[in-house]
């Protein structure tokens, strides 16, 4: 890794220089720093940007974010491993997070989970071989009155039944 003229860390891949976070994200991070007493407070936001651009948070990502904010890599590692929403390994294009907590359980979320497992031929925690889908079990997502539900990206899919799940999986293909 080398330091670019504007202070951003860049990486050389096959001779070409590649930014590790987009210019707009780097600008946004500079703006966010003004909102807090110190740059460390931007760590969650910076990790979000990294994950949005790269799909998951690699060791490289943690090192990069640490340098950007002037904090230690082990601190960033501690943060990444504390919060469940950061992917610590690559995930499929669509990460399906099925809530199985109490209100969803009462509305048969286990059937929804089983149905997805059967359709995608994977178990909870796995990714399809074509890397399209990852299936995980989630804790309460704040949609208990609209159970059963799942989250995929920023979208909430609520009041699910098997037909709705089928349509969703077809749409996401």
């Amino acid at each position: 890794m080398v330091q670019s003229c504007n202070g951003a860390v860049v990486q050389r891949t096959n001779g070409a220089i590649q930014m590790m976070l987009s210019e707009s994200s780097l600008q946004k991070i500079e703006e966010l720093k003004t909102r807090y007493q110190n740059p460390q407070a931007v760590v969650l936001a910076a990790l979000w940007m990294w994950q949005d651009e790269h799909g998951w948070v690699s060791n490289e990502g943690m090192e990069y974010v640490a340098r950007l904010l002037g904090i230690s890599t082990h601190h960033v590692y501690g943060v990444v491993t504390f919060y469940t929403m950061f992917n610590k390994e690559p995930v499929g294009t669509h990460k399906l997070e099925v809530c199985t907590n109490v209100s969803c359980m009462l509305k048969n979320s286990d059937k929804i989970l089983k149905h997805i497992e059967d359709r995608l031929q994977i178990k909870v925690g796995e990714t399809t071989p074509d890397k399209r889908f990852t299936l995980v079990e989630a804790e309460c997502l704040g949609a208990c009155g609209y159970a059963p539900m799942l989250q995929c990206g920023d979208e909430y899919y609520e009041n699910l039944d098997e037909a709705k799940v089928d349509r969703l999986l077809d749409d996401l293909k």
């Binding site: 909102r35 110190n38 904090i71 109490v102 359980m105 925690g125 704040g142």
Partner: protein, 429 residues
């Protein structure tokens, strides 16, 4: 009752519509009052926090030092991760400006120059909505420098979490804003003395803050007459589980639980009987269905019934519900969410889950009931934050009120294999 927090006005989330309906007039009114007068209104209104602990809001505000050389902060708690709770999201979606106006009034009352709204990471869609509302409020001069020419200035930022129930606990929330792991802090010192970056800080729930402009509009006296006198005001009740019309309902405090279930939510599907309810999110004590007659949704009513209001997330379970599965799932949640700082909580939640798995699998013995209770009793009161208690209460109350369910789940010949739960943690989560 006229709806005050979530009125039926189309497009109210838009700043123009909000203004056309009297929006931001209470901010103007507050800026014309002395800060202490605003806090006094809150105290006299008897508003109590809607984040789970029912703490008197006005009193909390008086803990903030009037004179200090340090900056002061307001954190609005939109972490909303307690299972069964989904009400704050409705405010963020349908009436974000009410919450923003309330926060500005609170900041003025306490002389606060920076507001952070902490929202759980999963709610990104709602973060985008609230950011739009904030941008509009900035553009109109309601937030920022010299608000409406009053000389008062404050900024308002959203801080996005990243998936951790514990970050709803107020000191953990502050650590999360500081860019730390979300570990709760030992108290004292309390946030009003030593909060964000060691500076005076107040933390209030989204719904609590949305009540602030309403109190100024109605006046404390009229507000304090809504619902139950000791816990007054409108309250958002989120109903889930076995009811015909689940959802978030605004009502005065003090409504009968049976009215909530049968009048607001259309009763139980197929007219089944109610076996049990959890009145205020998964941390509150479970009640038997036959004991909810006459119980009301307010602090006193639920205390008398042996539970608490919590977040008013009411979970209804019909006669066919397998309560052992329910308590096992709830306990798995606390085990997963324990931050791991204190031994009783970190180890105890895992042990309770293991023992409950034995009941779930018909592989427990009668002694396991007492063992389970013993573990729960040793968590309660012995931890840094209330997550430990929150994990113990559901288990304790389930054993107290449904011991028969546990007994039926024991192995007939009393020869448990003491099997160990295999799937102890979520894959990838």
């Amino acid at each position: 009752m006229e709806k005050l927090i979530l009125p039926d006005i189309p497009e109210l989330h838009k700043v123009d519509v909000y203004e056309a309906n009297g929006g931001y007039q209470m901010l103007r009114k507050a800026l014309g009052m002395k800060p202490e007068e605003v806090t006094d209104e809150m105290k006299k209104s008897n508003l109590r926090g809607r984040g789970g602990a029912c703490f008197p809001t006005g009193l909390k505000w008086t803990f903030m030092p009037k004179v200090t050389t340090k900056p002061k902060y307001l954190c609005i708690n939109g972490d909303e991760s307690e299972p069964g709770t989904f009400k704050d999201r409705q405010i963020l979606e349908d009436n974000p400006h009410l919450m923003i106006e309330g926060a500005l009034i609170a900041a003025y009352a306490m002389g606060i120059g920076t507001i952070y709204l902490y929202v759980r990471g999963e709610y990104n869609k709602w973060i985008v909505m609230v950011q739009k509302a904030l941008d509009d409020a900035y553009a109109k001069g309601y937030i920022g420098q010299n608000i409406l020419g009053s000389g008062f200035s404050t900024n308002f930022y959203i801080h996005r979490g990243a998936g951790a129930y514990i970050c709803g606990e107020e000191s953990s929330l502050m650590n999360s804003i500081e860019g730390e792991r979300g570990y709760p802090r030992v108290k004292p010192p309390f946030p009003a003395q030593f909060g964000l970056w060691g500076c005076p800080t107040t933390i209030n729930n989204v719904e609590t803050i949305a009540n602030v402009p309403v109190i100024l509009r109605l006046g404390w006296e009229a507000y304090s007459k809504i619902g139950h006198p000791k816990h007054p005001g409108p309250i958002l009740v989120g109903v889930s589980g076995h009811v015909n019309k689940p959802g978030v309902y605004e009502m005065p405090t003090g409504v009968l639980l049976t009215d909530i279930i049968y009048k607001y939510c259309g009763g139980v599907p197929a007219d089944k009987k109610i076996k049990a309810i959890i009145p205020g999110g998964s941390s509150t004590m479970i009640l038997r269905g036959e004991n909810i007659e006459g119980v009301t949704m307010d602090a006193d009513g639920l205390k008398a019934a042996g539970s608490s209001v919590g977040t008013a997330g009411l979970i209804v379970m019909d006669e066919d519900t397998d309560l052992i599965r329910v308590i096992t799932r709830i306990t798995k949640f606390y085990y997963h969410e324990s931050c791991g700082q204190c031994t009783p909580c970190r180890e105890g939640t895992g042990w309770m889950f293991k023992i409950l798995k034995r009941f779930e699998n018909y592989d427990a013995t009668l002694e396991d009931i007492d063992l389970l209770l013993d573990v729960a009793n040793n968590i309660e009161g012995n931890t840094i934050c209330a997550l430990g208690d929150a994990a113990a209460w559901p288990v304790q109350s389930m054993i107290k009120r449904f011991r028969d369910e546990f007994e039926q789940r024991c192995k007939a010949n009393g020869s448990s294999t003491k099997s160990v739960a295999k799937e102890m943690v979520h894959a990838l989560r």
